[in-house]
Symmetry: C2
Subunit: 257 residues, 2 copies
């Protein structure tokens, strides 16, 4: 199966490398910026371009992996003369209906739910992939790709995928910001964040065995007002963090009762 | 070495079990509530009591592991006629000075930085333990216990420990609340939280390899306003979560710039 990648960001980089390893042929890579296109093209050993209106028309699958807001625009500019090709995007938060009324027949969504960075490889076998499709042609192609990459493939509609995406924002993006705050507070005392690794790992491991609500510990759920007051004092000089601390603690307390 | 445990909560339960396994002799367990005292006493095969003013006076070490606000009160009631014994508490947020002026000579703090639940065993070898002491007697005893339990023992004063504690609240307690929110949002769509495990694990694994600020992904750091707007709409019925989403996103955006 021949594939063209439209986009060269974190997800496109990780997905295209995984597909190459799994035996798919990547024909071409597009990115708006020349540097990104060249970098990924070089990495994959394929052609690259910055012109989305003149892509190779002989691929079986076009994977649109640009920022959520750019998908619709890219679809408008796309000019692939190939009725049998399948088109998909990879965004958790964008409905499949973004393809409607733009002259596509075989289309769908291919959403690997994971956090991707260019310089950290992830094992796709463990990543849940959520797919959705417009017809049987798209179903066959997207199912084939998903199952060759991952052990857990789900068919879910756009509504469920949006719920997954916002949940992932909390469980990943917001979690990472909590790590970041922790790291910065430690930095002020010249303590490296490494010291938190056992706690970070155990906190993640715990929710494999019990529900997050049962795993909740700390001053807020215990209602330890003295400790919370002292923490708020420590954050006096950082009003945003103080506000965040108060809001999260209030919510933990409320949910714990 | 003979030990008396004052407190029978999550930390006391985990620590006393680990000490028993490491060859320490637990003489007695105290808890304010009879049920907790009996449960832990039975688990450890030792005596238990609800009367803190009549503890066994022959122990070498008294570990005070009650809620942060109760430590001072417990110290006032304690009546142990033993000048050679060492007394310590296990609270990250309470200074060593809580012992001052109460007639103790050998005292200190023994803070294992981890999240403890009664029904989940943790491996103490990986837990960083932060100790602080009033004199050489306390130093010897606390160092000995810490090193028999863990591979990473640090000597840190109360100020540093308080910084560690508030950082741990963000990296653990608040992280867990993010998991909890994620789980509840999924529940509304009948999706089990299990589907998040690969993402949860990768998010934790990532910060072993790069700084949290470099690991940040998601709509907020990308400045993807459309996605954030849609997410806020999805949270319309839950004003607390909406406020939280806005505040965290604003902060991620600010720090990412």
């Amino acid at each position: 199966m021949k594939v063209v990648f439209i986009g060269a960001g974190n997800l496109a980089t990780n997905l295209s490398e995984a597909m190459l390893s799994a035996g798919f042929e990547v024909l071409q890579v597009y990115s708006r910026t020349e540097e990104s296109a060249r970098n990924l093209g070089t990495k994959l050993g394929c052609l690259w371009t910055c012109d989305v209106s003149s892509l190779d028309s002989t691929a079986n699958l076009y994977i649109i992996s640009v920022s959520d807001k750019a998908i619709s625009e890219v679809l408008d500019k796309l000019d692939v003369q190939n009725n049998e090709a399948v088109f998909c995007h990879t965004a958790g938060s964008v409905g499949m209906n973004v393809f409607e009324g733009k002259g596509f027949d075989n289309y769908g969504v291919f959403y690997p739910m994971q956090t991707f960075s260019k310089n950290k490889k992830v094992d796709f076998r463990n990543i849940p992939i959520f797919i959705e499709y417009s017809n049987n042609v798209a179903r066959c192609v997207l199912t084939d790709v998903a199952e060759k990459l991952s052990d857990t493939v789900y068919v879910r509609d756009s509504k469920a995928r949006k719920a997954l995406h916002i949940s992932a924002v909390f469980a990943c993006n917001f979690v990472n910001h909590m790590y970041d705050i922790s790291a910065r507070l430690l930095e002020e005392h010249n303590i490296p964040f490494d010291v938190m690794f056992p706690l970070v790992d155990e906190t993640a491991a715990k929710v494999h065995e019990m529900k997050p609500k049962d795993a909740q510990t700390g001053p807020a759920v215990r209602g330890d007002v003295n400790v919370m007051k002292e923490h708020l004092l420590m954050l006096e000089k950082e009003p945003e963090l103080k506000e965040l601390y108060e809001l999260i603690s209030k919510n933990i307390r409320k949910w714990g009762q």
